[in-house]
Each structure stands twice: as structure tokens, then as C-alpha cells.
Symmetry: C2
Subunit: 169 residues, 2 copies
DNA sequence: AGTGAAAGAACCTAACC
DNA sequence: GGTTAGGTTCTTTCACT
């Protein structure tokens, strides 16, 4: 699986690859599947104007190359018994920055966690969580964050509403 | 489409509905499709231990009820020519809070925007964006946020890495 | 790379517990 | 609500361009 926009050696000098790794048809396939991930291959082929067999080859190539990392049903966490969402800013102790990857991996594996954003600013992470109730949220913050030796401080913001944007997965 | 956890009138007093709107089989269907959204109905039926036709009925019911809001291919924005991600905290002027919904709708419709989080804290929004390059990010912040009459201040944090958690869509 | 046709798999409407 | 049975549609391979 190739990473996008990696450096390519041509003349001994690293050169940024052309941003457009995807041709027009690949882009249209990706766009269609980001909107309607369960669209049948047939319909997809019609939409982008190629034969079904070609479309299938291209789809597999997109998956093999890691362009499409997976397909997911979109479910409101409230339906899963987690109606309370929050964004928690986390700042680590400066002497714990070496363990930053392990820490974020541990976070991402917790059942409350939707997203972990690893940041360049004053805060080290923003952690997007969904909790069963206020007490569940409190215990997540206190037991898994505040009391961890790596954590210097946390700041919890309730989320009233979450809108997916145009680019959203 | 019914919202989860809405109030139900039984005796004239609003009572919170049981959190478990979904039975065991529905939960297993949802869990399977959150991991593998393109899994064929047949395989899904096998996995949860019911007949394919029953499974299809349940899947449609889950979609009708709004439990499953859609299916999406997961694509790294870098492959779409947007390798730079940022989380932008936005605070509105207090006299612009009436237009808060229109404002977040406008944001969510912009091509750079992945997610808009509408918050309860000091910041009104966190806006998750992906930009083509640093200049693109700058112009998004300056042209669409800082210069908007509703906006009091913004704070942009680059995102080094974004990990999906266990609960992620 | 793209195509078309044919075999196999999945879907989906029923009739029936 | 659940299933088995069937015609219909989709997927997938392969020989060819």
C-alpha cells in the first residue's frame, strides 16, 4: 500500500509526486462511493461510463493501493446507547511526549472513542468521545485521562451537534 | 425517521425511552456494517444467524428508522489532493449567536470541510478541514472565517495524525 | 487498460409458517 | 417476526481487442 504524495527519487533530489495520482475515472469512482458506499458495481460502472468488469478492476486497484481504506455504515452513536458526545482537549506532560504514540493508540482502542486528533498546537490531542450518560463521560475523563501519569491537563467540551462536511468520509 | 432516546408520554409525565431500541440481532447487523459496510446481505445474514430475506428486511428497517444514516467509502483526503488537515476553533460574536445554525450549515457545505462540531464551551465550533497546501488553509481561515462578520476569533491547529477510534463511523 | 458474454452468486418478491 | 423457494439482477472470470 503506497502512501499518497510520497517523495520520488528521479535525479537524486527528492521531488514531490504529482498530487493527481488518480485519473478522472478513479476520482469519479471514489466520489460516488464516498456518497453511496453500498452502490452496486453495476450502477457504479454506469455512473462513470465504463463496463462493469473494468469498474470492478479499478475498484479493486483503488482498495489495493489504499486509496479506499474501507466501507462503513454511518450510525448516530445515540442509537448505540451513547447520546452524549464531547471533545476533550488533552495536554501531556513534557516528559511523557516520548510515549505519545502508545498513548494515542490506547485512546483509539477505547470503546467510547470516535476520533483522536493528534495536534501541532498547545494541546497534544483532541479526543472525540460518545458516552452513555454524564457519569460515563466523567469516569472516562477521570479514570482514563486525568489520572494517567502522562496527562498534564484536560479540558472537556460537550458537543451539541456534529455535522459531516462535504469532504467527510 | 424517529430520533433515538426521544421522550415518550405515558402518564402525562415525559419519560426517557429505554436506551435499547435495538435488539441483539439489529445490534449485530449494525456492528458488522460499521466494520464492513459493503458486506453482502448474504454474508451478513450468515454472520448474525438469520435467513437472508429476514436480514434484508431488518437492514431496510434500520435504514428507514434512521439508525443507519448511510454508507461511505473511507478515503484519506491526501489522496484527494488535500494533504494538510487542521482543527479550527471558532468563536462567534455574541450578537451573531442567533445565526449560528445558518453559519454552521454554510461551513459544512464548503469543499474543505470534513466535520463541524458545535460546542457547549467557550468556543462555538471546532471545524475540521483538509486543505491543498498551506496557502489554501490560510485563505480558508482568512476568507471564510476571520473576515466573516459573525466571527469574533479563530485558532488554527494543524493535525499531525487522525486516528479513528473503536466507535468511529 | 477496456470490453462482452456466460457462469455463478446475491438479491428480493413472494407464499407460507 | 421468521423461513424456504423462485425469478431477477449483480458479480466475476475469461477470451479478445
Amino acid at each position: 500500500m503506497t502512501a499518497p504524495c510520497e517523495a520520488t527519487e528521479v535525479t537524486g533530489v527528492p521531488v514531490a509526486k504529482d498530487v493527481r495520482e488518480l485519473d478522472d475515472i478513479d476520482e469519479r469512482i471514489v466520489a460516488a462511493l464516498r456518497r453511496e458506499g453500498r452502490m452496486p458495481n453495476n450502477a457504479l460502472a454506469d455512473k462513470v461510463g465504463i463496463a462493469a468488469s473494468t469498474c470492478l478492476t479499478r475498484l479493486r486497484s483503488l482498495i489495493d493501493r489504499g486509496v479506499i481504506a474501507g466501507f462503513h455504515a454511518e450510525v448516530d452513536p445515540a442509537w448505540l446507547g451513547r447520546p452524549i458526545q464531547a471533545m476533550i482537549a488533552v495536554r501531556l506532560r513534557s516528559d511523557a511526549r516520548g510515549a505519545i504514540t502508545e498513548f494515542s493508540d490506547r485512546l483509539a482502542g477505547m470503546p467510547e472513542v470516535l476520533n483522536v486528533y493528534f495536534l501541532a498546537g498547545a494541546d497534544d490531542f483532541h479526543v472525540h468521545v460518545a458516552a452513555r450518560d454524564p457519569e460515563d463521560l466523567r469516569s472516562f475523563v477521570v479514570d482514563h485521562l486525568s489520572s494517567a501519569p502522562e496527562v498534564a491537563l484536560t479540558e472537556t467540551n460537550l458537543i451539541f451537534e456534529h455535522k459531516r462536511g462535504r469532504l467527510a468520509e
